[in-house]
Symmetry: C2
Subunit: 434 residues, 2 copies
C-alpha cells in the first residue's frame, strides 16, 4: 500500500547499528545473508522484531476493532516506521495518527493519505508546512486537534492566507483537570466547537481525548475515571450535535492509548441518539510490538476484566540482544547495551534469556531474579542472583536477551531493526525515521 522502494533499495553502510558490515549492503539483500542472531552474526547490541508476534498483534487488533465496530488510526509516533505503517494500513487501519507536522510529512512521503495530528498546531512554520501538503496532494487529508481559541485562530488565519480551497477539519480536544492538553470542561470545549463551526476556513469534524495518562496506583479508580471521561466525550458530541455544529457527514470521536482500549470500545458503542453517524477511532500505537513490561501488565489486566477479547492476547515482539562484555565481579555482568539502545523511562530492560553462540541450539531462560540494575550511555549492569549457577557459568561473549518496557523510547534509538523468525534468523529489516 505504501511505497517502500526507497528503503528497500537503500545501501546500508558499515557502522549501521545492529549490523557488523564491512561493506555496503542493499537493505533488500539482508534476508539473503542467512544471518542468525543466535550465531552472533549481527553486531551487539541489536534490536529485533519477531515477525510472527508482529503479524499476530496486527491481526489481533484488527479482530478487536471489528468486534467493537470501531476503526483504528494507530499512533505512528510509537515506531515512526514506514514498514510498520504499511503493515498497519494493510491490516485495515483507517489512517495513521502522528504527533506533529514533521512526523506527518514522513508518513505522507511514503504514501499515507489520512492522518490525525494528535496535538494542537501552534508554530507558524509548521502550520505552513502542514497546509502546503494539502495543496500539493489532493488525496491527502489531516485532522488537527485543538484546545484553545488562540490555536484555532492561528489555523483559520493560516488557511485563509494559504488560499486553500478546502476548509481544515478539526477535532476539539477534551481534557481533564491535572491532565495534559485539552479543554478542562465540556462547556469550554463546546464554546471552542462553536468557534470552529463559525469559521469559513475550518470544519468541526469531531471530538478527541486521551485517557491513557490515567494510570495511577488504584486501578479501580483509574477505570472509573476513564469511563467517566469517555462518557464526557460522548456527552460533548451530543451537545455539539444538538447545536448542529458538526460540519462533516459523520462525527469523529477518538480516544485510546494502548492501556484501556477495551473501555474505549465499550463506551463508544453507546446507542446515544445523534443526527449523524458516529465514527469511533482508536489511536493505540504500542499494540503493534507490545512489550514485556508496562503494556504487558496493563493488557493482562484487560484480559482479567474483558471476557470476549480476541484469542491469544498481544505478544511482545521487540527484544534487544546484547553481549556480556565484562564479568568484573562474581555476580555482575556488564553488557554491551545502554541508554542509547533500550528504554529506561518506565522500567530498566527485562533480561529473559541467555545464549552462548555456537553452543545450545535454543536460548536458556534466565531466572527472574536476574535484573538490569542500571544503565550508562553504552553499558548495562546485569546483577546475577548470588546463589545461582550463572555466577559460575555466565561468560564474556555470552548473549543476553532483554524485553523492554514502553516500546516508544526504544524505537527512537534504532534507525534499523531486524525482523527475525522464531529461530532468530534475520528475514528483513524495518527503518525508523525520527
Amino acid at each position: 500500500m505504501l511505497n517502500l522502494t526507497s528503503l528497500n533499495e537503500q545501501s546500508l553502510l558499515p557502522g549501521t547499528k545492529g549490523l557488523a558490515l564491512t561493506a555496503p549492503l542493499l537493505q533488500k539483500d539482508l534476508g539473503a545473508q542467512a544471518w542468525n542472531v543466535l550465531n552472533a552474526d549481527t553486531s551487539f547490541p541489536v534490536a529485533v522484531l519477531k515477525g510472527s508476534a508482529l503479524q499476530h498483534n496486527l491481526q489481533w487488533m484488527k479482530a478487536f476493532c471489528a468486534s467493537r465496530n470501531i476503526v483504528l488510526a494507530p499512533h505512528g509516533k510509537t515506531t515512526m516506521s514506514p514498514q510498520l505503517f504499511d503493515m498497519q494500513l494493510r491490516n485495515g487501519a483507517w489512517g495513521m495518527t502522528l504527533a506533529n507536522v514533521n512526523q506527518m510529512r514522513v508518513a505522507q512521503r511514503f504514501g499515507v493519505k489520512r492522518v490525525i495530528i494528535a496535538n494542537q498546531l501552534v508554530s507558524k512554520s509548521d502550520i505552513h508546512s502542514a497546509l502546503s501538503l494539502l495543496a500539493e496532494d489532493p488525496e491527502f487529508i489531516f485532522y488537527a486537534i485543538c484546545d484553545s481559541v488562540v490555536g484555532v485562530n492561528m489555523l483559520a488565519d493560516a488557511v485563509r492566507e494559504a488560499g486553500l480551497q478546502r476548509p481544515l477539519p478539526l477535532l476539539v480536544e477534551l481534557g481533564f483537570a491535572g491532565g495534559r492538553t485539552g479543554c478542562r470542561s465540556r462547556q469550554e470545549a463546546l464554546e471552542l466547537a462553536r468557534h470552529i463551526h463559525r469559521s469559513p476556513y475550518l470544519q468541526l469534524a469531531g471530538v478527541e481525548g486521551y485517557e491513557g495518562l490515567l494510570v495511577g496506583k488504584n486501578r479501580e479508580q483509574d477505570l472509573m475515571q476513564v469511563k467517566s471521561f469517555l462518557q464526557d466525550m460522548l456527552a460533548l458530541s451530543q451537545q455539539a450535535d444538538r447545536e448542529q455544529l458538526f460540519d462533516l457527514p459523520e462525527i469523529l470521536i477518538s480516544a485510546g492509548g494502548s492501556a484501556y482500549f477495551d473501555l474505549v470500545g465499550e463506551e463508544f458503542a453507546s446507542k446515544m441518539k445523534l443526527s449523524l453517524p458516529l465514527l469511533p477511532i482508536l489511536r493505540s500505537g504500542c499494540y503493534v510490538t507490545h512489550d514485556h513490561g508496562f503494556y504487558h501488565g496493563l493488557v493482562e489486566e484487560m484480559h482479567g476484566r474483558v471476557a470476549d477479547l480476541p484469542a491469544g492476547g498481544l505478544r511482545p515482539a521487540l527484544e534487544v540482544w546484547s553481549m556480556v562484555q565484562s564479568r568484573p565481579e562474581n555476580d555482575l555482568a556488564i553488557l554491551t547495551m545502554g541508554k542509547r539502545d533500550a528504554s529506561y523511562d518506565i522500567d530498566m530492560p527485562l533480561p529473559f534469556a541467555t545464549h552462548r553462540p555456537g553452543h545450545a541450539s535454543a536460548p536458556f531462560a534466565l531466572p527472574a531474579a536476574c535484573k538490569i540494575e542500571k544503565m550508562n550511555d553504552q553499558h548495562a549492569y546485569l546483577r546475577l542472583p548470588k546463589d545461582s549457577g550463572l555466577c559460575q557459568t555466565l561468560a564474556v561473549g555470552d548473549l543476553i536477551a532483554c524485553g523492554i518496557s514502553h516500546p516508544c523510547t526504544t524505537f527512537d534509538k534504532w534507525p534499523l531493526m531486524l525482523v527475525v523468525d522464531d529461530t532468530y534468523r534475520v528475514q528483513s529489516a524495518i527503518n525508523t525515521i525520527f
Copy 2:
C-alpha cells in the same frame, strides 16, 4: 581535516526534525535561508548549538591540555557528529575515543585515523569488522581496551585468523570494586598485561581507566577515590614497565571523563621514573557542548578547587527550544517537546528563557522556579510559579528555551542540530550518526 562533503551535499527532506521544510534543501544552503529561531522560522522543538560557545569550549580544552601536557582523544560517543569530530581534531585532538566498532566505522568513514575503543571487543562479527578496517586502511589505527583473558584471547585469535600484518595494540583496563568494567586489582591487570605482551598478535600499548563514575554524595570522598584510582593506574604502568611489558615506544595512560579532568591532568603529570615516555590521554567528551546541569555543576566545583584553569570556563552550547502548545491550567504550560527531544536521565530539561516571536528582540529570562515537571514522549509539563506574572502572560505560541543536563542523551535524539549565532540566526547544521 575530515571529509564532510557527503553531509554538506546531502538533501534534507521535509519531515527533518527541527526544520519546517516544504521541499528538499541542500544542507549547505541552510545558512543562506536567513532563518532565525526567535522568529519561529524553524520547526519546534529544535535543538541548537551556539557556535560561539562551541568555539570557546574547543579552545578552552585545548589550552587546558596544553597547560597539563596531556593530549586529548575526546569521546565521540557523546555527539557522534562528524562535524564536531572535525572541529575537535582541528583543535589539536590526538585522536577520537569511541564506544564500539560501529561508532568507529562511522568516524573512519569521514577520515578519523586514530581511535581508542573504550570497551572490550567481544563479538566475533564486530571484531572482524574492526580488523578489516586495519587491512583496508593502512593509515588507520585503533587501540582496544581489555579486562579479561577471554577477551584478549578472542582478539589474538581474530588477528591470527585475519592474517593481519600488524599486531593489535591494547590497553589494559583497571577498574575498581563496585565500578563498571576493568580488572578489580593491579595484580589481575598486571597478569593480563603479561598475557598480552606474550602474544605475537598483540601489543601492550598502555593502561586505561575511567574515574568518571565516582560521582557520589560526598565530593571530598569522591575526589580522594579518584586520586587514589589514578595513582593506581600509574603504579600499574610502573610495574608493567619494570617488567618491560610495553611493546611501543611510548606508554599510553588514559583516563578522564568530563567531571574530574583536572585531577587526571594533575596526577598524570607525576614525575614517576619510567623507561619510556608516558603519554597521558584525556577522553572527555561532554566538554564540547558542556551543559546547563550535571556537568555545569561538576565543572563549577572544579573552578573552586583549581586556580589555574583557562579563562572563561566552559559554556553550555546546547539548547532545546520548544513552543507552548497548550495552556490548560493557570500555572501549567504544555510544550511541544518530550522524551524524544531532550535528556531526562539525570535531570529534566532546565527552562531558562522565553520569547514571543515577532515581539521583543531578545528572550526574557525565566524565573528559576519555572520547572519542567515531567515529560511524555512528545510533551513537557512546564509548571509556572503560582504568584508569577507568567501565569497571566505566557501564551500558546510562545517559545521556551531549555538547557539540558547530560548532553549525550540529547544528541542521540537529533539527526540534525542547528548551529546558531548569538542572535539565534541559523548558520549551519551538524549531523549525528547513531
